[in-house]
Subunit: 656 residues, 2 copies
């Protein structure tokens, strides 16, 4: 099925990429020509002989994935997509490279154009996210061997391999044996500051081999060597790293091989010299028909493969299960969750919200085969694993629970990859304080609009003795700051169940659950409407209120106690539970006004005040933290930092 | 000089650590006995035979550094410090382990007690920070070979080695050849979730060797093997990794070797069994005189070594230079900077603040030999390197500029280590968007109160075409959220110079400069008082104001333009430049009121509004970002997102 194109043709296919890259960067007067020109031969051989995808069906589940981890080389991707005939990547888009409103942003942006598998640019994210895609492929293959069986290819640069996240990713991939993952390393020995030997002496092949990878090298400008290496990588049961020795900016005769060619236009003179050097006689943004024909053959191969796959699917005995997975069918879940919430109302469990999360997850995982759980080595603390879940192990992908290791960043990126792959819904746990370790991947999930679910327990000084390194005080604010991330801090078991309903149903952005270590009473008296989805709601309504106490998570109980103490003194305090500032911001003005009321307000959260200005006015008060926490038992800390019902009562009296 | 104590004594010294660890964790009913008990033999041999420090002079610059990267094993450190006779680590402190107000926090907290070299707990930070300490030692040795020449020892666990930051750290250490760095890996094959083979198959020795480390193994419970390994490590010119094969919880006969012993008290029964098993007949918190005597000998060796060193210093020809470095003497700098700022007023440079930073750094580096610069492979973009600086290279530590590689996290931690080591003042650059990659180390600097300087350029959508992955919109807010971190966003060359004055003089916390990619005019007309240190000040005072425009960094010029446009329409607008919210918060109420005024206010910043509630009232307005940026030229983006003088003018008119 794979036709071996003559070498000359592949070089010409590559030169088309080079020409488009240098011309588009020149036109934009901004961008990175070095990588696309250096890796054009590798990319051409890879696509010409191996990659199977259908530009007319970019969401085909069994397509090969191609991730440009070195995202600054975006013109490589745009040029390929143009040449392959993606219908939204006409020459007008290449001409508009890096211009407002174009699909050809400086770095590839997921959702901006078809076929962009993920947003890349922040180095290391691509390779780590691709690990998740390759993991999803193996999980899918284990369940649907006839329907999911493809490769995940990555082009990574030196920067990707220097970032620490690459180690977390490669360790996980090597351990699990993700044999369908192939990383093509652009081994050009150049970084922005100069030669790579300014900053690293690592033998990358030895490093990857130490984590169980299949490693090999090739000359990145010799098609036969490239093809042989990829062929060998595809056959090996381990994930493969291919060191492609390349010349950065290959083809620009006076600049290639130097770091100046990395991130600036070549200039008209050097572009002319490159054209002469490469024998490329065509005008800027002009591609001869023979090159289009060569790339069209690649696309056709993919289209045919997809048609064959669709035929297989139509008669597959497990097609209903597959389509249910693909369609994120929530049948069964909704009713089971409604039942569970009703049971909560009668059982009234007093449990930590991390425990309530485990209970809700029991319903989720019991009814939804699409869930893939995990934790960054804190399973027993995060309570992310439910009865019946089995561990994914090296070579055995029938399980549905990942031991991600002490690798919060790698976990978050891998989960993004699983979510992007489109079959499963990933969730994974760590301590909320360590959200910082995973933050670049959380941000990327938000930017891409990918529904990854982060389960973050031990969400305040309420974790107690582990002390300030482990106690989030500013972390909630810093997460609420990320656009398009939904932060949910439920107050009891009902809100936690509602939070999981939101997380499971999310489609256009990540969801983060902040959960307590300490036990909390059931506060809700009814569980019909998902009130957590309102963002904030009136939990205790005293009628004509004199003060409004607004709290989240573990501090809602504290606010309720304060309201009761105030009531004993004849002061009517409303209590608002505010599990999600983002959801509340989306409610109508009328609803928001009704919840917040006109009375003086007191925000209560065992965290800093930043971020509360959407709920509090200048004249309102806040009971919370002003700085880092301390090491002591949780009750002693709440007392020490003055986050108590009594403090709220006194503040209320001072306001009214 | 080093006396070889009989093996039996070292085991008893170790058993004292074990007993104190299990008893303190039991008393606290919280904590981690597994690591201290497992590594007690290694620690005892290490201290007994090798570590040179003086408990009576914990700040002695040439002491060996000991970093407990696996910070959850804090009782190992506290027990050792007690046994060595640190005068603030009496038995009362061990009895108060993890209690409010004690020096014995759940994880070692820098500054809480003498001899704690750094705060650890977030995994991987210790090893990466120790790289900075070991680097500082080599830098110091290159300048003062007779005065600085010591070792940096680290105890790291599996979790430390799984975190990505460990790769950034070991790559840098191996590359530079930090031969006085010795990492003792607690190779116990246990993590919280269970055996390490749940999540990793990495051959750690091969991995470290791939980055140029000297690697070796020993049985972690056989003193001769431990000593031989450390001896060999000290002799090797490369950094060394010693895999110490240990049994977690060694000595607890029924629990050792399992993951349950990691992070929970052993219980009274198992503690009794351990006492019997170890032949430890003493009551809880009771240490026999013979054990104290053994540890006192270690302390005495250090005290003698320090006395000899003080004598050497007193007659060293370069003692004045050394003491100037140690004392952070700013002589020469203050005057030179004052001159420079005056020159700015006449030159009126229109430069990006990243360029202004380079100019100011010229003055800083030209007058202060204590500065150690660097960048995470963005030197030409961050403009962190000034004329005359030379690169630190493998084996050559005479330079003063580091090529940290594409390793923001490792750079930040290494800088923390340099700052903690006490001789030099480190600064390092990256893009502001990638502060997220370094965030756990930035947080730790803030928590420790260490004056690391972060130079973060390309600080808004003003960076243009690289697009949303590279454009901070929420990053400023998320950094301002970190307690004890000073964020400075200067508006012009004078404010940038003032920012560097603040950074250089900082003693009790990190400073982060957010700098523009795009050019900005000089706005300041005088440069006497450091107004940036005020946090915010009146830049344009129209007399009786009708509206106050408050802006930071690159948006101050925009606010000035808006004020001029308003003036043309007869509206009096004051312009407040607010380079540091943290500094402004520390000003008197009267000063703050005078600057902010009573008129309606408009905040202007090309970032999200979060964090502005300290400056804006509910009725005030904000012109900024609501979500992620986009890829286009900077002017097009400002227009697109409505951050323009015209938008400010219209907002002002709507308010007054």
């Amino acid at each position: 099925m794979i036709l071996h194109t003559p070498i000359a043709d592949e070089r010409t296919m590559a030169n088309a990429i080079r020409a488009l890259a240098m011309d588009a960067v020149q036109a934009a007067n901004s961008g990175h020509p070095g990588m696309p020109m250096g890796m054009a031969d590798v990319a051409s051989v890879l696509f010409n002989r191996f990659v199977t995808l259908d530009p007319t069906a970019p969401d085909w589940p069994n397509r090969d994935r191609f991730v440009l981890s070195a995202g600054h080389g975006s013109m490589l991707l745009y040029a390929i997509h143009h040449l392959l005939g993606y219908d939204d990547m006409g020459m007008d888009q290449l001409r508009a490279f890096r211009q407002l409103g174009s699909r050809t942003a400086g770095h590839p942006e997921y959702g901006h154009a078809k076929g962009i598998e993920m947003t890349t640019g922040p180095l290391g994210q691509g390779i780590a996210t691709a690990v998740g895609m390759a993991l999803s492929e193996r999980l899918g293959h284990a369940r649907f061997p006839g329907l999911i069986d493809h490769f995940t290819y990555v082009i990574a640069g030196d920067g990707c391999l220097m970032e620490g996240i690459s180690q977390e990713a490669l360790d996980l991939a090597g351990h699990l044996g993700l044999g369908h993952l192939i990383v093509l390393w652009d081994d050009n020995k150049i970084t922005i500051d100069g030669d790579t030997d300014l900053a690293t002496s690592t033998d990358q092949l030895a490093r990857f081999a130490a984590s169980g990878w299949h490693v090999l090298s090739c000359d990145g400008h010799t098609p036969t060597e490239i093809a042989d290496a990829i062929e060998a990588a595809r056959k090996d049961p381990r994930p493969s790293l291919i060191a492609c020795r390349t010349v950065i900016g290959f083809g620009a005769p006076n600049k290639q091989g130097g770091h100046d060619v990395h991130g600036a236009p070549l200039g008209a003179e050097e572009i002319a010299a490159a054209r002469a050097h490469l024998g490329w006689t065509h005008a800027p943004f002009e591609i001869p028909a023979s090159v289009y024909a060569a790339w069209a053959r690649v696309a056709r191969r993919g289209t045919e493969a997809r048609a064959a796959w669709e035929a297989r699917l139509a008669s597959a005995p497990d097609r209903h299960e597959f389509n249910a997975l693909r369609g994120k069918d929530l049948t069964g879940f909704t009713a089971a969750m409604a039942d569970y919430k009703q049971r909560l109302l009668s059982d009234k469990p007093k449990v930590a919200t991390r425990k309530a999360s485990e209970m809700a997850l029991g319903v989720v995982n019991g009814t939804l085969p699409l869930m893939i759980g995990g934790s960054a080595d804190l399973t027993g603390s995060n309570l992310t694993r439910t009865k019946g879940q089995t561990s994914v192990r090296p070579g055995d992908f029938t399980g549905d629970y990942l031991h991600y290791g002490v690798r919060e960043h790698g976990m978050a990126a891998a989960m993004n990859g699983i979510a992007l792959a489109g079959l499963f819904r990933p969730y994974g746990g760590t301590f909320l304080a360590f959200a910082d370790y995973a933050r670049p991947a959380i941000r990327l999930a938000a930017l891409m609009g990918v529904p990854t679910v982060f389960v973050m327990t031990h969400d305040s000084i309420g974790l107690g003795e582990d002390g300030p390194t482990h106690q989030p005080v500013e972390i909630l604010a810093s997460l609420r700051a990320i656009p398009n991330l939904t932060v949910l801090r439920p107050a009891d078991a009902v809100e936690t169940a509602e939070a999981w309903e939101i997380a499971v149903a999310a489609t256009d952005g990540p969801v983060l659950l902040a959960l307590s270590r300490q036990n909390l009473p059931l506060l809700r008296a009814e569980a019909g409407e998902n009130l957590t989805a309102r963002g904030a709601y009136l939990l205790r309504d005293p009628g004509e209120r004199q003060v409004t106490l607004i709290a989240t998570g573990s501090e809602v109980d504290l606010a309720v106690k304060a309201a009761e103490a105030l009531a004993a003194e004849g002061i009517r305090a409303a209590v608002v539970s505010a599990p999600s500032f983002e959801h509340f911001a989306r409610q109508s003005d009328a609803y928001r006004a009704a919840v917040l009321g006109q009375a003086p307000r007191i925000g209560v959260e065992a965290a800093i005040r930043m971020g509360w200005d959407s709920l509090l006015r200048s004249t309102d008060a806040f009971v919370g933290m002003n700085g880092f926490g301390a090491s002591a038992a949780a009750p002693a800390l709440y007392e020490h930092f003055g986050i108590t019902p009594q403090a709220v009562v006194e503040t209320a009296k001072s306001l009214i």
